[in-house]
């Protein structure tokens, strides 16, 4: 069970709504993941982290697919269910 309350996307700051909407498109899903909502409940941390994250996961010298596999391996080694 989560130890903090996860805000709904609409409860977050108006200036963060475009990023939250874009997150759905990024993952091709119709909801905003909990992690995005938790991070943006602390905008001073969540905003720069979100920007760094989006940039780092985009196609570059490595493809986005390769980067998602790296992320999956890190999550597996850390035994992170989320």
């Amino acid at each position: 069970m989560e130890i903090v309350r996860i805000p709904e996307a609409r409860e977050l700051a108006p200036e963060d709504q475009p990023f939250l909407e874009a997150t759905k498109g990024w993952f091709k899903i119709d909801f905003v993941p909990k992690m995005s909502r938790v991070l943006l409940s602390h905008p001073g941390f969540g905003r720069p982290y979100g920007r760094a994250s989006r940039r780092a996961m985009s196609d570059g010298s490595l493809t986005r697919a390769q980067k998602e596999m790296v992320a999956a391996v890190v999550s597996a080694i850390n035994v992170c269910e989320y």
Partner: protein, 159 residues
């Protein structure tokens, strides 16, 4: 791939086997045989391993395993299959092995897989990008665990 990497790292770091490429002050806790001491059948297997990694010797972790040649033969077959070009190419697999090794804080694995990834063509830019993803996901996995976030994706569902 992630499984065999994690296992070989556990053996190599657990037994304090010296790093293959970086300078190392580690003293192995066990005797590790040299290629010269190998029987003819083992020699053939050693040659194959050495060629696979384009090294002038067999990585210490496999020389340790040669204490039980039948086990080495089987396990090496699995490692070779896991790291050969298939749906994923060998370079991608080495980048994933590097990410697994960094995340598990394995000195032996980072040393071996960084060299392998570079040998197979990973550029400095590619390395920077891979490490950024490792760093980002070591951050979010720690946050997710600390807050005990329940998954909101179903990994079995098709996009």
């Amino acid at each position: 791939m992630a499984g065999t990497t994690h296992a070989l790292n556990a053996v190599a770091d657990g037994l304090r086997l010296p790093l293959e490429f970086g300078s190392s002050s580690r003293n192995p806790l066990v005797a590790v045989q040299t290629s010269d001491e190998a029987s003819p059948e083992l020699k053939a297997l050693f040659d194959e391993i050495q060629t696979f990694y384009a090294m002038d010797r067999v990585p210490a972790v496999f020389r340790w395993m040669a204490r039980d040649p039948i086990f080495l033969q089987g396990y090496w077959g699995a490692v070779r299959a896991a790291f050969s070009d298939a749906s994923l190419d060998r370079l991608t697999k080495e980048v994933l092995a590097l990410a697994a090794s960094m995340t598990a804080k394995s000195d032996y694995g980072v040393d071996l897989h960084l060299r392998e990834a570079r040998r197979l063509g990973l550029t400095d830019q590619g390395l920077t990008e891979a490490v950024e993803v490792v760093q980002l996901f070591n951050t979010v996995t720690k946050i997710a665990d600390a807050l005990q976030l329940q998954p909101d994706f179903n990994p079995r569902s098709e996009p």
